[in-house]
């Protein structure tokens, strides 16, 4: 029994190449690329959001309409320190159910009164943005 266990330990030890091969393959995949190219390989959503965020000034205050959970959660990070929110009522949005119930399209007056500079939407995979100005219509 002891010899079997020691053999199994040696077998486990000999499998070091699995972890080493996996790591070096991943490193080779990313070697020689720029930061943004590497981000596009390992996290293409992050790469896209970084590019979109760069179009907004750092002090922008953005209201995101028709939010999808995963995109919103990542967008908050990639847009920061730009302020990004999806709610007028400081409501909690965390679960799929809560995002499905979202129904907080703001009026232009509310946006202007609260200092918002832009409105953003990722609905149906399309990125659309608007500057907050009198006469802006949102659906």
């Amino acid at each position: 029994m002891m010899r079997i266990i020691l053999l199994l330990v040696l077998l486990q030890l000999s499998l070091f190449w699995v972890g080493l091969a996996e790591t070096t393959t991943r490193a080779r995949l990313l070697w020689g690329k720029s930061v943004e190219e590497r981000r596009a390989v390992v996290n293409n959503i992050g790469a896209a959001l970084t590019r979109i965020a760069s179009h907004f000034p750092m002090d922008a205050k953005i209201y995101l309409i028709h939010p999808q959970g995963f995109l919103y959660m990542n967008a908050v990070y990639y847009f920061y320190p730009r302020f990004l929110t999806v709610t007028m009522t400081n409501r909690r949005y965390n679960t799929v159910q809560e995002f499905a119930e979202w129904n907080e399209i703001p009026s232009v007056d509310w946006l202007l009164a609260n200092g918002f500079t832009h409105v953003l939407s990722f609905q149906n995979g399309q990125v659309r943005g608007w500057r907050v100005e009198p006469g802006l219509e949102l659906k």
């Binding site: 020691l6 972890g19 991943r26 996290n43 992050g46």
Partner: protein, 448 residues
């Protein structure tokens, strides 16, 4: 400038190590430096949290001042000379050929992981939406002035998670002078390197060097660690902190030294500051020590009291400023535990433990778990103190996780989310189990 961030963490930890440790010759030179890393995260992170709460922006001057003040206090309290750091290691025979091979495997795996972690930007949902977001807020703003904790739409980032790990990211970026979520990731593989060093020396105290080296080689080459060493979450830091605190606790169980229990207490405070799972680690280790070493009551009181004292600032902050912190726990209460589901949960675990070893999990864990279980079950050391304490600590941690799953409202099932959660818990639970694994293998080697 990232080097400045790393050195300040080390120097801050060195001040704490200098004050606590009576007998530096008990630790190898590299081991002393390795302990300074997790101690430094605590020694730098907590004062930075307090200063940020007071309204001070993170700055290089702030970090350096903290280190200077800590060293002044350390020199006033500690009674050592500078020889403390240069006490020679015991003379050891040179490496054998097989040990050289294992050393090359370890260095190769760590170098590959380092390269991978440095090349891959943040790529995990929790890493981005929870830990890096908090770090960015700490970098750009202060705890006093940020509206983050009052924004309920940011509840997905878990307002109640402690801030030690994001604070380290923010500190790294502060030293670099700009937000750089690529270079700051150097902190992740460093945790693995430090854990490898601490594991090696902890094993060397109880087993032959070849077995210690082989255990470290198996640990650093584990594919399951790859994702969590690069994804930016706080699981690998917690694995390090839990492992470091258990190795010190184990020394205390063996020798009863005061400095060992004080180191354990400070490191367990670090566990509390890293993740909510740190609470499980703290309770499990404290209970384990209490069950078997209840006669050392005074030292157990330090073990229980010091981590809570260190954690107190966060608990006060949570109560005062995180208005929806209880929402994280609204379904969690003793009364909500579905005890009738316990048999189903145990059957579920038993069934999936066998089915779990499909091709995906075999690729992630290799043969580690079956070999570990077989080695432990057939060895004699697990029936003796303090080795059986490792088994008890594992049982308490695993039991706590089973109970936590019994109090959620969803039915018990194995989805992708549960699998990742189990993986993360397994990494943290494994931290002390490596020591037991090494002992069992050494024992079997002696018996053949």
């Amino acid at each position: 400038m990232i080097l400045l961030a790393l050195l300040t963490i080390l120097f801050a930890g060195a001040a704490v190590f200098y004050v606590i440790v009576d007998a530096p010759e008990k630790y190898a030179r590299l081991e002393r430096i390795a302990y300074c890393w997790p101690l430094g995260m605590i020694a730098l992170g907590i004062p930075m949290f307090l200063l940020s709460w007071a309204g001070c922006h993170l700055s290089v001057a702030m970090g350096l001042s903290i280190v200077v003040v800590e060293w002044v206090l350390a020199k006033m309290i500690g009674a050592h000379s500078w020889q403390f750091w240069v006490v020679k290691d015991e003379d050891r025979p040179p490496f054998t050929e097989f040990e050289w091979f294992l050393f090359i495997v370890v260095v190769g795996c760590l170098a590959a992981r380092f390269a991978c972690s440095m090349l891959a930007p943040l790529n995990d949902n929790d890493g981005v939406a929870v830990w890096a977001l908090k770090a960015k807020i700490l970098y750009y703003d202060t705890l006093r002035h940020t509206s983050y904790f009052q924004q309920k739409d940011l509840a997905f980032s878990n307002h109640s998670y402690p801030l030690l790990w994001p604070m380290m990211y923010a500190w790294a970026c502060t030293c670099m002078g700009n937000w750089d979520d690529q270079t700051m990731m150097v902190l992740n593989p460093l945790n693995l390197v430090v854990f490898a060093v601490l594991l090696y020396y902890a094993c060397c105290r109880h087993v032959r060097r070849t077995v210690a080296m082989a255990t470290v080689a198996m640990m650093v080459s584990l594919p399951a660690l790859l994702h969590y060493t690069e994804c930016g979450q706080a699981d690998v830091p917690l694995m390090l902190m839990a492992g470091a605190s258990f190795f010190c606790l184990f020394d205390w169980m063996h020798e009863g030294r005061t400095d060992s229990i004080l180191l354990t207490a400070v490191l367990m405070g670090g566990c509390l500051w890293l993740k909510l799972q740190g609470d499980v680690v703290f309770v499990a280790y404290l209970l384990t020590a209490g069950i078997f070493y209840w006669k050392r009551l005074r030292q157990l009181a330090w073990l229980g009291g010091i981590p809570i004292l260190l954690f107190l600032p966060w608990l006060i902050f949570l109560r005062l400023y995180v208005h929806n912190w209880h929402a994280e726990y609204e379904n969690i209460s003793f009364a909500a535990i579905r005890w009738r589901e316990l048999p189903n949960a145990l059957v579920f675990i038993a069934e999936n433990s066998v089915r779990w070893y499909n091709s995906v999990h075999l690729a992630k864990w290799n043969l580690l778990w079956p070999v570990l279980v077989l080695a432990a079950v057939t060895s004699k050391c697990v029936r003796q103190n303090p080795w059986r304490c490792i088994v008890v600590a594992w049982a308490l941690q695993s039991g706590a996780i089973v109970v936590l799953y019994l109090i959620v409202t969803e039915p018990i099932r194995l989805g992708a989310g549960t699998e990742f959660q189990m993986e993360r818990e397994a990494l943290i639970i494994l931290a002390p189990l490596w020591l037991l694994f090494a002992k069992c293998v050494d024992e079997h080697r002696n018996r053949t």
